[in-house]
């Protein structure tokens, strides 16, 4: 009978712990693969963000603001892998929103595929419009809570467009 309160405590503490289930998903620092990009000077500077955050895991006092602000280099262009990793990990966007954004990114990639396959539509102008719109959606979701990632994406915007619009580069990244 005396055990009852203890059991209650354990049950409640466990259930409290379970409520964090959704959060750690976005919390751990980026574990980006070393960006094997063609631009050596910029790609070297980039991974400093994830690695610094990773090497200091017990940074419980300043979770996000401190590490990324230090990490943003002078020319923070992103490769697609690290962009994807950082978008997955950011806490600024909820799980369902991330899924929804991923759907829209996949749709856009399908449109690029159609375009590069020689279909008359979508045209480059239409693709650019869709691309800009999607970027705006992402940025509007990020800008208040993960400004570093938002500004890095802004910096990489043209570079990513370059990858998508060039048929050879597109084939390489989607292979």
């Amino acid at each position: 009978m005396r055990r009852a309160p203890y059991s209650a405590v354990v049950v409640i503490l466990l259930s409290t712990g379970c409520m964090h289930d959704r959060k750690p998903e976005t919390q751990p620092p980026p574990s980006t693969k070393t960006p094997s990009t063609t631009t050596p000077s910029t790609s070297k500077a980039k991974p400093s963000a994830p690695t610094t955050a990773k090497t200091v895991p017990p940074a419980t006092t300043k979770p996000q603001a401190a590490a990324p602000s230090k990490a943003s280099p002078a020319n923070p262009t992103l490769d697609l892998e690290s962009l994807e990793a950082r978008l997955k990990q950011t806490k600024a966007i909820g799980l369902m929103t991330k899924l929804s954004l991923k759907n829209q990114v996949d749709d856009l990639l399908d449109e690029f595929r159609r375009h590069h396959a020689g279909k008359p539509t979508p045209t480059v102008a239409e693709l650019r419009r869709s691309y800009d719109l999607l970027m705006m959606k992402v940025l509007s979701l990020l800008q208040d809570h993960d400004q570093t990632l938002a500004s890095d994406i802004v910096s990489s915007r043209e570079r990513i467009w370059g990858l998508l619009a060039d048929p050879k580069k597109f084939a390489a990244i989607t292979a």
Binding site: V9, I12, L13, M19, M96, L99, S100, L101
Partner: protein, 82 residues
């Protein structure tokens, strides 16, 4: 002594649980608000959410619209007006 400790823990847990629940619900409402907006549907802000199952929600918006927001078997997020 242990009885007191258990009691304190129980009280703390009881106080903490609703706070976490509130935070989670707030985050979920914000998440669904963003999802509905991303799909170009009218909502304004999600004011209440019922969790139907994992990644499956019934959301009520400030403007009175109700949506079924869920992930289908193809991994797509679907927003259906109710």
């Amino acid at each position: 002594m242990t009885k007191r400790l258990a009691h304190s823990l129980l009280v703390m847990a009881c106080l903490a649980t609703p706070a976490f629940a509130q935070q989670d619900e707030k985050a979920l409402k914000k998440d669904l608000t963003a999802v509905i907006a991303l799909q170009g549907k009218s909502c304004g802000e999600v004011v209440s959410v019922a969790v139907l199952k994992q990644n499956d929600y019934a959301a009520t918006c400030k403007d009175g619209n109700k949506y079924h927001v869920y992930e289908n078997d193809k991994g797509r997020v679907v927003v259906d007006k109710q």
